[in-house]
């Protein structure tokens, strides 16, 4: 008799704990409000920069030159203003970046012209290959947000 009663109490306790746990889980899932933030986690910022470079890479040029790739045209014609103008439509205003060109041996600053901006906080790196008839280069974008 007593043994049965003890088993019943143990089981009741287990069920009670399980019910409370499930209820808490349910309430937590329902009550967590979507966070609204103007800053991105670094993985999201990286995706954003990768997307921006890919969008420029897949945009056709007006004269179909440089393999019909706008990013390649901007880089090989050294059109930094065009690059910034196009990027401003793809990245939020609070995202800043340096652009480097890597050819497999040397990595040189492409934008800004003279000195790289000093990054604040965590930096993400996005990249995209570009080519003309003779060269294959990597456009490397170092980005961060303030």
């Amino acid at each position: 008799m007593r043994e049965n009663k003890a088993q019943l109490h143990v089981l009741e306790a287990v069920v009670a704990v399980a019910i409370v746990f499930l209820a808490l889980m349910f309430v937590y899932q329902q009550a967590t409000a979507p966070s609204v933030s103007s800053t991105y986690p670094s993985s999201q910022l990286k995706s954003l920069c990768d997307d921006a470079l890919f969008a420029l890479w897949s945009t056709p040029t007006e004269d179909r030159s440089y393999g019909n790739c706008l990013l390649a045209k901007l880089v090989f014609t050294n059109d930094k203003e065009g690059f910034v103008e196009n990027m401003s439509g793809l990245l939020p205003e609070n995202v800043f970046y340096n652009v480097w060109i890597y050819d497999g041996v040397n990595r040189s600053l492409w934008y800004p012209k003279d000195e790289p901006l000093t990054p604040i906080g965590s930096v993400v790196v996005a990249h995209q290959l570009v080519s003309n008839s003779t060269q294959i280069l990597v456009v490397e974008m170092e980005a961060w947000e303030v």
Partner: protein, 163 residues
Amino acid sequence: MKIEKVLNNNNRFIKWGEYRMRRQKAQLILLAAITIAISIVAMSLIANNLMNVGIKTYKKEQASLFRRYNSIRSIFLRTISSAIGSMTYVSDDDIYRVVNTTRDKISLLESRYGYNFNVEVTGIEKNINTKPQTLYVDMRMSLSSGDSYIDEDMSYLLWSGNY
């Protein structure tokens, strides 16, 4: 008479005791069943959540790799076409050299960012008796990053024309 009454009372007590025992056993079984059911539901909910997170991450990584693969593939093919197209005579060695040089260059550039790019020539088909004459190169191309992997067997038309 008195003895019968005592015996009857005893019987009633015994029956009452048996009834309580049975009731408690039934309650025990019921509670055990409820515990098992709740455990199964909780475990399936947790497993489902974990699986969804895993699938979403995997799909995102795979989509990102697929997009990168397409851009690398496009640049690779354009580069080898351009190099071969500028030659007046193309030998098998030339094809191997152009493919391997381009592959090594892209592979070096991409390895800096954690991507492994590889291309192997699996065959060369020269059709000189057809009009136009064609030159196909068969390749196996692959790109991997972390746990994500893409590969493709392709037969690429490298050149077509008439001599």
